[in-house]
Every structure is written in structure tokens, then in C-alpha cells.
Symmetry: C2
């Protein structure tokens, strides 16, 4: 950063692409927010054209919010965190893009979330929202665990909790599994009265649809429903084990990120909970830290 | 049938609609095959227009195969077995179709498979192929269990075996689960060398894609791989339990149908295996039995 300050101070834009939204934030060199923009999904795994469009659109909104013009994108140094760019082919595709920025640095959304959480420093994160995964970045080494996606993996995630709950309710309605408070809760949730009604609402649906049931599962577990509790305990045990595997690379800091981070914390093992540190900056700022680091290295 | 024989003998066509194919067979009154036709998918749950088109197309092919003309469909009395027609709305949609037959009788694909298996008589069936479900038909009562679809249910099915195996392999590659022969087998199957490679081949894929792994899981189980064995044992235990639930309505006969019926039989409980009777007729002939029964009742 010392090198950048010596020149004319550049503006940085941090972009966090995701399965449902793309967030762009323009920062001054002291990390103050100058403008923000939000556009649609930007997940290269689900389509490059849409990813580029969402990046462009969120950038334009952030520029306007900052009182700048669309053409000013040429002044911005961009840091991008995108899913799937650990796949070499996708990283190449993104790098080949005729982007609108002065410079562009791309890494995974996990990496930017991690360096954001730890203010640019080394550390580990577990993300538990719709999906789940673990990531650690210590020195030159990266460790990425889980995150195989719905319904293959992502244990302990919102979608996983919802899927397991629906499975148990359907087994219960068929007489294969014990009674559970989840049954009535799920039937009411969808306003249906039998297994067929639940199947109609869930068959072929996205992970977000299953994740919308997570709150209900956690509620039943907190009310001591045995079936819900068993599901949450199994999910939390996986997350605790995931944390311990990340700790093995000795990350100096550890944070939990995502919508389930807080409600799940009560179910994690105490050795894991005791190590949780607060998130210091959002992924967009993490993306800017990454861009600054890369720029400093290249100068 | 006595009533039909008294009139001019009509021709019957039996149609078995499914998620991948639609089979139509024209039968003489003594059940001999006069002509057959196969067309694309005919699952009302996945689109009515395509279902009608596949029914029409398979019928035309069967008519030509029988040396008849397309216009001769007006002479046929049709029995149809279609998924999803237990949903009243879908049954109504099918009944409202301006069909090309003299008469048309529609019931579920499970029902036609069951009365086919038992030569028109009462009985129970378990279907284990890509999916799994149980069905019993005794007197006026029907019992339908399972069949909630991938990845919500269908325990013990091909897709379920494949999903469980992939889950365990990914957990093993992340260090969360014990080593298994499935890991090398799955990596070789997709010709990849890590978890990411497996995920690329399976993420967002259909149940048929997962079901194509079932043979590999059964092989590993037969070779005493502990992880594969645990999966197959769990799936088979569900199927055994499913059979016992069907037995409670006292079906006079019981058959297993589908691609996994034979390989899974070795893993079922002996009280279940001892009750398995061979399939007496295919679902298309079951659909014709249904049409004849309905015609006799309406006359």
C-alpha cells in the first residue's frame, strides 16, 4: 500500500459475486465507502455472460452512487471474489474478459470472505448459510473443505437442515420414522395436509427453498424435539469437526460467516466456540484488500 | 371381459408412460401382442403437452407395427398408466384431453404395474429402479408408500445408492469419513482425480445420473467394502420395511419390479424374499387389464 500512496491515490472497487446477488463497493484508500451497488447473481459456475453483466451493472450503480460516471470505471482497480474460479478453466475465462477496469484481480469468494473477516491477514472462516464450507489461508497455503453443494454435501448448512427435516417428515408420514414436531410445522409452513403436498412444494426445488426451512428446524430443536435435535446435532458436529480441521493449519484468527453462523453457534463444541472472532470487514472489502496485495506484489 | 367377448371383439392398447419413455402395446383379446411402439417421456408431472405427444406417437407406431392405419386409433380401447395422476388436477387434465381412442381409462403407473405383475388380480409391488416406491391394491383400497423423489426420499433406489456413495466419497476425500473402495471406483468412473472432479460431474445432475452409480456401489458392497455395505444395508432395510408395511394390507401376491429388484434381493430380509413372486405381465398389459375391468364395470 505504501507504493500506491506514493503515486496518485487510486480508487478501489471490491466485488463479491454470489449465487443470488452481486455486491460492489467503491472504497477510498482509508477504507471509507464511496459508493455501493447491488445487481443479480454472479456465479461463473452458472453462466459467464450473466456474471459479467451483474459485475458491470453493480459497478455502474456503485459509480453513480459515488457521484461518478460509468466511464470512470477505467479509474478503478477491482478486486473480485467469485465462486468456482479455483477451476482453472473458469479462472482463465474471467481473466480473458475485456473488463471495464484499470486493473482486475480475481480470486475465490471464499478467499475474499476470509481476508475480509481477518482485515487482510491470515486466518480461517466457516461459511454457513444456504450452503456450508470451510476455508483457511495461512502464508502461501490455502485449505478448502466441504462446499460440494446441495444435495451432495454442505452438511450443517441451511439447505442440508431443510432437506434432512423434509426427509424425516416424509418418513414419519409413511410410518417409517418417529413422530416429530417438524411434521405439523412443515405441513403448516406449506399450508398442505399430507406428504404429497410437501413433495409438490419441494420436488426439484433449489437449495434456497430448502434453506428457508432451516429456521423452523432450529426452532424445533431448541424446543427439544428429538428428531430436529438429532439433525441439528449431526450438522453442528460436522461444522465443529470442519473447524478443527481448519485449526490444524494454525490460522491466527477464525470467524463464522453467513446466516446460520449465529443460530448454529449454540450447538457447536465449546473448543470451537471459544475460538470464534468477529468478522472485521465484509467480503467486498476483502476483495479490495486482495487487489491491493496483488498490486503491491506486482509493483 | 365376458361382456366384451359377447360384442364384436375390440382391440385394446396398453400405454405405460414414464420419465424417460412411453411404451404402447396393442393386444388381442387373448393377450397376444399385435403391435408395439415406443416414444419419448410421458410424465404429466413434467409437462402435459409432451405427455400427449408421446402417447400419440407411441400409439401411431404401435398401429403401424400392427399393420393398421393411424385413423384406426378410433377402434382402440386404451388403458393408460401415468405418473402423478393421483393428483386430482392432473387426472382432470388428462381426462379432458381430446384423445384419439374409442375409450380411454387412466390410472397411475404404479397401479398398472401392480395389476400387470399379478395378472389383473390384487397384490403388492415394490418398484426399485432409479427411484423407489411401494404400492398395494387389495379390493377397493390402495396403499402407496415412498416415491417422494430424488433427493427427498426414494431410499434404497439406484439414485439414492449413488447419492449416498458420492456423499461418503466426498467426506472421505475431505478427511471426515473412513477410507472406502468407493473412492477409487468413483474417481475412475468419472476419470477425475479429486473431489472437485466428482462435484463437476454430479452437481445439479438428474436422478438417472446418480442411479448410474448404483451398480458400482453394489459391487463394492459385494466385495465387503464397509462403507458401501453400510449404504446397501440401510437401503435394503428400508425396502424390507416397505414390504412389511405393504404386507399389512394382506396382498395375495407380492412382486419386485425394476432394475434394482434382482441385485437388491440378496440384501433383503428372508421373510420378505420368501414372499417374492414373479411378475406375470408387463405394465402395458396391466394397463389393458385395467381398461377391461373399467369397461366391464361401466357396461
Amino acid at each position: 500500500m505504501g507504493l500506491n500512496q506514493a503515486k496518485e491515490t487510486p480508487l478501489f472497487i471490491g466485488i463479491d459475486g454470489g449465487g443470488s446477488k452481486c455486491r460492489a463497493t467503491i472504497y477510498a484508500s482509508d477504507d471509507t465507502v464511496i459508493g455501493t451497488g447491488v445487481a443479480g447473481r454472479a456465479n461463473p459456475l452458472h453462466g459467464l455472460a450473466q456474471t459479467f453483466e451483474s459485475i458491470q451493472q453493480s459497478t455502474e450503480l456503485a459509480l453513480r452512487d459515488a457521484g461518478l460516471t460509468v466511464g470512470d470505471s477505467k479509474l478503478l482497480i477491482a478486486g473480485l471474489g467469485l465462486a468456482g474460479v479455483n477451476v482453472p478453466r473458469l479462472h482463465q475465462d474471467i481473466s480473458n474478459w475485456a473488463h471495464p477496469f484499470a486493473k482486475m484481480y480475481v480470486t475465490t469468494d471464499l478467499h475474499t470472505a476470509c481476508i475480509g473477516a481477518h482485515h487482510g491477514g491470515d486466518g480461517a472462516v466457516i461459511i454457513t448459510g444456504t450452503g456450508s464450507c470451510g476455508y483457511a489461508h495461512v502464508g502461501e497455503s490455502h485449505l478448502c473443505l466441504g462446499g460440494h453443494g446441495f444435495a451432495l454435501g454442505d452438511k450443517g448448512s441451511g439447505a442440508w437442515l431443510g432437506l434432512k427435516a423434509a426427509e424425516q417428515v416424509l418418513l414419519h408420514l409413511d410410518g417409517f420414522a418417529p413422530a416429530t414436531a417438524l411434521t405439523e410445522r412443515l405441513l403448516n409452513h406449506f399450508n398442505v395436509h399430507d406428504a404429497m403436498g410437501i413433495v409438490e412444494h419441494l420436488a426439484g426445488k433449489t437449495s434456497s427453498c430448502y434453506a428457508s426451512l432451516a429456521r423452523l428446524v432450529l426452532e424445533c430443536a431448541n424446543e427439544q424435539d428429538a428428531v430436529a435435535k438429532a439433525i441439528v446435532v449431526e450438522g453442528a458436529a460436522y461444522i465443529s469437526e470442519l473447524a478443527r480441521k481448519l485449526f490444524k493449519v494454525a490460522p491466527p484468527r477464525f470467524s463464522m460467516i453467513g446466516g446460520l453462523a449465529e443460530p448454529l453457534a449454540a450447538w457447536l463444541d465449546t473448543d470451537v466456540v471459544s475460538k470464534i472472532s468477529p468478522i472485521l470487514a465484509p467480503p467486498e472489502l476483502g476483495a479490495v484488500y486482495y487487489a491491493r496485495q496483488q498490486l503491491a506484489t506486482s509493483n
